[in-house]
Amino acid sequence: MPDGAVMSKTIEIEVLRYEPAEGSAPYTQSWTIPYTDDMSVLQALQHIKDHVDGSLTYRWSCRMAICGSCGMMIDGVPRLACSTFLRDFPAGKIRVEALAHFPIERDLVVDAGDFIGKLASIRPWITPKVEKDLAAGEFLQTPAQLERYEQFSHCINCMLCYAACPQYGLDNRFLGPGLTALLHRYNVDSRDAGQEERMQLAHSEEGVWGCTAVGYCSEVCPKQVDPANAVNQNKTLSAVDWFARFLPGSRAA
């Protein structure tokens, strides 16, 4: 918050707090703090931590919507705290809670272990079609080839889409929206040859069929990745792959 700014307005910040200990339960705590129109929810939390209660715990890093660290439920909606502004809550009160569908580690910090574990399983790197010597130069792409995956490459792993996905909340074996978008990003890259291995995951019980097209993942995505589109495009691919086994000359025939 800028020093010397006139701060006549106040807002109540209600936080679902949790201190890890066996048998302990979350509880609600509220603070009323002064604010200016340019303050984000993240800055409100920083004000509380710096001036009121140093024990308040949350994750943040870049404070400009690119690192994906400060995702949390703000009035029940998964949002980045750094790009959500206090001025947009004229009621004078907001409720902040850790990202839904993840175990709470402490206060607003979730255990992202499940997401990080799955991230490696989708092989999020390009498997070149042909090995090429570094001296031979880069792999070139046309603008059309770039456009096929570019939108899906904007994912910042903030996990807001997981907090928006009730199917992930009900059964976290589901690979989920963001990672399916990332899987699709590599699969449709003209330089990549790793589709077959990734599609085994997409076709599996934990893959795309866990999605029931709620579509909220795409609504809350701060980078317009549209993960629901990636998931549902892969349902089509998965269905085509399943029916293709009945064609003469297919791998399974």
Partner: protein, 129 residues
């Protein structure tokens, strides 16, 4: 995974937490009406096979006030189903291009709704002709 004492929040009542989820559940619930209406149509097909008397009895049954109110309720529910279905449609298909540009999601939804309206209108016109 770890010895940390994390807290897992319950999912009970999840769909009431957000208006978006309520609309989603309403969309899914329309399937019940689609199912019941399909049963009614199948009964009509069976009646048709069983001869003119059976078919007339089926038609008379449709004019029963209870059945009529179900049919009008179904009309409303189907309209919502159509709207929700075409709203989600852009998210379920590969990018559509027209004249070298990607077709916007809103245009796909509008085209779908227009096609549904034209098809329904044509069917009504055919039935009244």
């Amino acid at each position: 995974m770890s010895a940390r004492d994390t807290y897992v929040r319950p999912m009970r009542g999840w769909w009431r937490r957000n208006p978006f989820f309520v609309r989603y559940m309403a969309r899914e619930a329309t399937a019940i009406f689609v199912y019941l209406y399909a049963l009614l149509l199948i009964a009509g097909l069976v009646a048709l096979r069983n001869g003119p008397a059976a078919f007339d009895a089926w038609l008379a049954m449709l004019r029963n006030p209870a059945v009529m109110s179900f049919l009008f309720a179904s009309l409303g529910v189907f309209a919502y189903h159509t709207l929700s279905w075409f709203r989600i449609m852009p998210k379920t298909m590969p990018p559509l291009r027209f004249a070298g540009r990607r077709v916007a999601a809103g245009a796909i939804t509008a085209a779908g709704l227009a096609a549904a309206a034209i098809a329904s209108g044509a069917l009504v016109a055919l039935a009244l002709a």
